[in-house]
Amino acid sequence: MSRRVFITGGSAGLGRALVDHYADAGWSVVTQGRRAADQIAPPLPQHVTYQQHDFARDVGLPAMVTDAPLDLAILNAGAGHVGPLTALTDDQIAELVHVNTTAPLLQAQALYPTLAAAKGTLVLIGSTTARGAHPDFASYAATKAALAGAARALRLEWQDRVRVVIVHPGPTATEMHDRAGLPQSGIRRLFTPAPIVARAVASAAASGRDRRLGMTFLLRHAPAALRASGANA
């Protein structure tokens, strides 16, 4: 029987690249995302199960990941925000923390029985901004630092039952940056293509070790980034 993976935020960006990666590797993939299934381009691979879901509203999970053993869950869905703190409303602050921190934690909690049944792995997607100070996206960085703190505590709690891994991607070439309000600029041509980041996430998931995709990773993949952005331009 093929191994089962659940990926959130699978309709675009890094989540989509993860869906393709695991589908290619022969896994049985369940994913959810905000868009309607017919809005996903290119269409998802044939055997992928997709649920349209906006967990700004609730953290609901498809039944198929809560009623049978699950080998791997990658809680990737997230949102960004770029700009001064005072540009956010109270609701936007609450939603950012909800989507990036609270919702993945509550999903992890709901997935615990099926992950434990398979002695599976939980992967949280942090950000290199979880460390350091980030005046232009203070709230976003706080949500990702919070996720890192949760991963550290949860790994100690679940040590013999579910492996807990956090991967901190650096700047990745996805639409999240447009939605977050990051202006287009030449520097964005260096953002790592999502499929390359997806491979790094998958390798961290397989090894069970945390990974921070910092400056070295960014530079190592800069040539591929330039080729990809050139091809898209």
């Binding site: 953290v59 001064p84 703190l85 005072t86 956010l88 109270d90 602050i93 609450a94 923390v97 921190t101 609270t102 934690l105 509550l106 992890a108 909690q109 709901a110 615990y112 029985p113 979880a130 350091g132 100070a133 980030h134 005046p135 232009d136 996206f137 203070a138 709230s139 960085a141 706080a142 949500t143 990702k144 630092a145 919070a146 996720l147 890192a148 703190g149 949760a150 550290r152 505590a153 949860l154 100690l156 709690e157 679940w158 040590q159």
Partner: protein
């Protein structure tokens, strides 16, 4: 006369800080959801406000005295026990009170005309940022988020400080700790002592405040030996709690 705004001011560390500031001659505005406990504080302005209320940040900014130069974010809750056994709504509330509210309040204050130009924003985090905290996953998350926010806020040009207290002799600790034997309670630092150290370090302009030698030693251990520190805490905190304390 310095003007100070303190959340979570009716109990624990917040109360000790509020009283110490008052006694030092500061003009204090004390915010707490516990109206009865607030009423026992004399000689300061009070605002009864639950930080989970949708208009909390706006009300607090309105109640803040003009020219306030110190904001102490002390309000906080916890939930201890196995992560999967703590009700989901409790995890959500911990993040709401400990992380969302201080960011919202800071935003409202920065957007208002109430702050002195060099106002200091001080956030009460937790020693768990240095040591990890198995058995309080959502609490550890919220406090690491707060420490990150304090760093970013400072870099954005607003003076800010994060305070990382260890266990204190407060109702908060008694409520969430696995062991409240006399010996354990006696080993916790009195909130009045922590408050004095915190105010001293704030006056010195420190951006990271770890009150007391014991807390500093734990922080160093957590940084230098994360593996053994984590295992020790798992035994002392996580394995000692069977049913959640929320």
């Amino acid at each position: 006369m310095r003007r100070v705004l303190i959340t979570g001011a009716a109990a624990g560390l917040g109360r000790a800080l509020a009283l110490a500031c008052r006694d030092a001659g500061d003009n204090v505005t004390a915010v707490d959801r516990d109206e009865t406990a607030l009423a026992t504080l004399s000689g300061l302005e009070t605002l009864t406000c639950d930080l989970c209320a949708p208009d909390a940040a706006t009300r607090i900014a309105e109640a803040c005295a003009p020219d306030t130069s110190l904001i102490l974010h002390c309000a906080g809750i916890s939930a201890t026990g196995p992560f999967e056994d703590i009700p989901a709504e409790v995890h959500a509330r911990v993040l709401r009170v400990n992380l969302v509210a201080p960011i919202q309040i800071t935003r409202a204050l920065l957007a208002s005309d109430r702050l002195a130009p060099d106002a200091t924003h001080a956030f009460v985090g937790s020693l768990s940022t240095f040591t990890g905290y198995p058995g309080a996953t959502s609490y550890a998350a919220s406090k690491d988020g707060l420490a990150s926010f304090a760093r970013s806020l400072h870099k954005a040009g607003h003076r800010s400080t994060c305070i990382f207290p260890g266990p204190l002799r407060t109702n908060h600790a008694a409520r969430y700790a696995p062991d409240n034997s006399d010996k354990t309670v006696a080993a916790r630092m009195a909130p009045e002592d922590a408050a004095a150290l915190i105010l001293r370090d704030l006056a010195r302009g420190r951006r990271t405040i770890i009150p007391g030698a014991k807390a500093k030693a734990f922080a160093a251990a957590g940084r230098l030996l994360p593996g053994p520190t984590g295992r020790a805490l798992r035994k002392a905190l996580y394995e000692a709690i069977d049913t959640p304390k929320v």
